[in-house]
């Protein structure tokens, strides 16, 4: 059994649906009462105003059941069973490309950055113009460690690397 506020909501949706149905075919043989939308408005208006003033006013229950009888049951399906609102989630800000230089390194081979900890990485070394192989660097608890023999960021602060976070 629907409550009176639910019936009011159903009637509002039904009013729109009735007007759409009338506009789409009432004049071309479709069995739709072209005045149904207005009738729903007239009856629903009275019931809604009276309900807002006194929800227990005599006659409200009977008239709202009558109103429900004029409504489109399809409107009931999405007003009572579904509906509501969906709040879109705000995606987290993420970084997928981190350009660094030799000066950013903690020591000769270790680069510390919590943003890359635990991430799947690809590292492009501009100075040799290629991606590092997976055996040429390793992830550490604080960032990455470059394993290439002779790599020394302290001596070469102008090293230029780009760290890509894969599937951030």
């Amino acid at each position: 059994m629907y409550t009176i506020p639910q019936i009011i909501s159903i009637a509002k949706a039904s009013q729109w649906m009735a007007n759409q149905a009338a506009a789409n075919g009432a004049l071309y043989g479709s069995p739709v009462d072209p005045m149904l939308g207005v009738k729903l408005y007239v009856i629903r208006r009275d019931i809604e105003l009276v309900y807002n003033l006194n929800p227990t006013y005599a006659g409200l229950q009977e008239t709202s059941i009558y109103l429900l009888g004029l409504c489109n049951i399809a409107a009931a399906a999405f007003i009572v069973s579904g509906g509501g609102t969906v709040t879109p989630s705000q995606p987290n800000q993420f970084v997928y490309l981190i350009p660094i230089t030799g000066a950013d390194f903690y020591d000769a081979t270790n680069y510390v950055d919590p943003r890359i900890v635990g991430e799947s990485l690809q590292i492009f070394w501009n100075d040799v113009n290629r991606y590092l192989n997976t055996d040429e660097f390793e992830s550490t608890a604080a960032g990455i460690n470059i394993l290439i023999s002779g790599f020394d960021a302290i001596l070469n602060p102008n090293y230029s690397l780009k760290i890509y976070i894969v599937n951030p």
């Binding site: 005045m35 207005v38 009738k39 408005y41 007239v42 009856i43 208006r45 009275d46 019931i47 105003l49 009276v50 003033l53 006194n54 006013y57 006659g59 009977e62 008239t63 059941i65 009558y66 004029l70």
Partner: protein, 173 residues
């Protein structure tokens, strides 16, 4: 203090308007009394004691948050002015608001809907529905004239039409 008030009606009591003081800010201790002036579209002053052509007010004691005034014998659009006075009756604050009171119309229209639910075949009566729609449009018109247009004459004219239809239901419904 920012002076303000609201007006309402109770269903089942269409002859009475209820005013509520909704002023905000710190109450001004100089205020000792309130007076309510209600005027219709013809400029008459209306109180629970009747209509007056000279300024006539209803007292609204400061101690009372609300005041009920049984002054309506049909739906009306009314200018209501509330004056906040000091002990020498000097007006310290004043506020005027236009309202439409259509409880007679709402109750009459709802009664028609109740009758409709007991005589379902009426739903097919085109003449009945043409007049029901006119009645509803007049009531909506009266409300819109106040809330949108702030026009007492248009509102009262619409209420006069709805009042006539409900007073002569045998002609329309």
């Amino acid at each position: 203090m920012t002076e303000n008030f609201s007006a309402s009606q109770t269903i089942g009591v269409p002859n009475t308007i209820i005013l509520t003081d909704t002023s905000t800010g710190t109450f001004d201790p100089a205020i000792t009394d309130r007076k309510v002036y209600i005027t219709d579209v013809a400029g008459n002053y209306i109180t629970a004691n009747g209509y007056f052509t000279v300024p006539t007010s209803t007292d609204w004691p400061v101690a009372d948050l609300t005041v009920s005034i049984a002054c309506l014998d049909n739906d009306m659009a009314l200018q209501i002015r509330v004056d906040w006075l000091d002990v020498t009756n000097v007006v310290l604050y004043t506020k005027t608001i236009l309202f439409d009171f259509e409880m007679y119309g709402l109750m009459g229209s709802f009664a028609l809907t109740q009758a409709l639910s007991s005589k379902p075949n009426t739903i097919q009566d085109a003449n009945y529905w043409n007049n029901r729609i006119i009645l509803t449009v007049n009531l909506d018109d009266a409300n819109n004239a106040v809330t949108i247009g702030n026009n007492q004459f248009i509102s009262q004219s619409a209420l006069d039409r709805s009042t006539y239809m409900l007073a002569n239901q045998q002609l329309y419904f």
